[in-house]
């Protein structure tokens, strides 16, 4: 919406520009005096950015805006919404214990994802960040679960984790039959099962991101420390880890947002009804179950708005307080 202001009033500089022509010198003065852009530059900007902006606004921004509107109605999805109920949907959401449970589950998943994946992935990345044989093969193999679709992962794991499935069978085969569990439906362990699947699926992503971050650290630093007699772990702790900070913070951000939006894995492994009894339901599965699957589109949109606001608040707080230093550069770069 901000960019559209460029296109409507291009006439002002027409005369100036036509005298210089569209040739060599035209764009150069424009750079020095950003206010005096030629109509041609404006046209180029509009043509080049326009399509992307229209797509983005109509399929990303507009639906979210519409959700805010629909959320005020009791609406079954047919015809225009007419049954205005004000904030009733939102009151219902926050009084529904099923939603509050789902919200709690999301909170647990956010924390456990950071705690389980973060240290393990950093350690793995530190171990793998040296020139050695087979390095790239190891990287590729660790990354494989991330590339496989959630549906395949969910289907595979749900078959393996059934009471008569491969995990229990394997435990029995190696003589640990006592550890056999009802992995999926026992509320005491279902959340941990979910965390196992999540960790398995996404830790490769964390490792690759961290390895990429490690590669950006100049070798001279570690070499100098080595010459000064620092040990491998001293170097990691004093030099590598602090310099990896920005990468870790970005990963944590992506992980938090992903955990808040978690849907596919839970919905596939636990289905829409079992998830709440097993204690793995999330805001997103709640939204789909109570919105689309029961035909209450007004309510479903209200849940979407709540999810959106929660994610937005957390994202803004995180960017404000945790990533402040990292994003400053990125954002100011865009302006000048």
């Amino acid at each position: 919406m901000t960019v559209r202001t460029h296109s409507p009033s291009p006439r002002r500089v027409d005369a100036v520009d036509e005298s210089t022509g569209a040739g060599a010198a035209a764009p150069a003065p424009a750079r020095r005096r950003p206010k005096g852009q030629s109509w041609r530059t404006r046209l180029e900007i509009t043509v080049l950015v326009g399509p992307a902006l229209v797509m983005f606004l109509s399929f990303v921004i507009f639906p979210v805006a519409m959700a805010a509107f629909y959320g005020f109605f009791r609406w079954k999805g047919f015809g225009p919404p007419t049954d205005f109920v004000g904030l009733q949907n939102y009151l219902t959401i926050f009084q529904d214990s099923a939603f509050l449970e789902a919200l709690t589950h999301n909170g647990i998943i956010v924390v456990l994802s950071l705690v389980l994946q973060g240290p393990a992935a950093i350690l793995l990345a530190l171990l793998l960040n040296r020139r050695m044989r087979g390095q790239s093969v190891i990287r590729v193999l660790i990354f494989i679960p991330y590339v496989i679709s959630e549906v395949v992962v969910g289907t595979g794991w749900s078959l393996m984790l059934q009471t008569t499935g491969a995990v229990n069978g394997f435990l029995e085969n190696i003589g640990l039959g006592a550890l056999k569990q009802d992995w999926l439906s026992d509320p005491a362990i279902a959340m941990w099962t979910l965390m196992l699947i999540i960790t398995w699926k996404y830790i490769g992503f964390a490792v690759i991101i961290f390895l990429a971050g490690l590669q950006g650290i100049p070798e001279e630093l570690t070499e100098a420390a080595q010459i000064d007699g620092a040990s491998f772990w001293q170097i990691q702790r004093r030099i590598t880890l602090p310099l990896l900070g920005p990468t870790v913070r970005i990963w944590a951000f992506l992980s938090i947002i992903g955990s808040l939006q978690l849907f596919d894995l839970v919905y596939i492994v636990w289905g829409q009804y079992v998830a709440s009894t097993a204690g793995t339901s999330t805001m997103a599965t709640y939204m789909v179950a109570s919105g689309r699957n029961s035909g209450n589109y007004g309510y479903g949109n209200a849940v979407a708005v709540v999810m959106f606001i929660i994610s937005l608040i957390i994202a803004l707080l995180y960017q404000r307080y945790v990533m402040k230093r990292d994003t400053e550069g990125a954002l100011t770069e865009g302006k000048k």
């Binding site: 901000t2 530059t41 190891i138 549906v151 289907t155 490769g204 994610s311 302006k335």
Partner: protein, 289 residues
Amino acid sequence: MATATIRPRLAPRRAEQKLTWGNPVVYFVALVVIALMLAPVVYIILGGFRTNAQITTDPAGFPAPWNIGNYFTVLFGSVFWQQVLNSTIAAVATTLGAVVLGVMASYVIARYPFRGRGILYSLFAAGLMFPITVAITPLYIVIKNLGLMNSLVGVILPQIAFALPVTIIILVPFLRAIPKELEEAAFIDGCSRIGFFWRMVVPLATPGVITTGILAFIGSWNGYILPLFILNDASTFTLPLGVQAFASQYAVDTAKVLAFTSLSMIPALVFFSLFERRIVGGLTGAVKG
């Protein structure tokens, strides 16, 4: 076991000299991790070669004897191929759309000085914070009102829109890195900005473009929630929906489900092994950008 089979296939491709063997502890840890990562994948693939009787007697055993029937049933049926076709159409169209629109927009954000370009960049970057899940309910209504239900177009358009933030975030630093001198030299030689775009920027940005294209492709290929909402007609199903439908239709026939599941992950795995460096490189760019 899986590492042993895959390593020789990949190793010859790399011609790095002077690489030493690292610390054995590192290899041990790596092997354990890799075994944990691959075991479920291997289980799915091997499970497809077993019979239901074998799976019932010993859920965690090896195929004995090997039975290729499940794979043949899936491969010679039309359902699987229809879904491969649908997934391919959706993924190719999404990739093309995201890349073409993304390059154009990134070029402007990276190299045109104008007021509001910071806001424009932040607007697209903000899209990164909100995966498709949060918008899916209203998005479904938008698509329904556009009359695009049960059509791949209804999946492709939102996928392009949601792929744009990543594409732009990766490409903007890439395009900004093209030296100013190059641009000035081109202008002195009488090249317009658009000419510069076609003759210099597009060729120079190819590596970044490939990376973003791959990310868009895999995102579309694996996408689940959007097709789940938009595609209700079985003939329009993409592979993820197909896997789920197949798994519930043949719930008692575990071996066939495993065969279907492992066949459906092959394309993504092949694609990934072909472009592994680009993907990893792209993520590096995304983190630094």
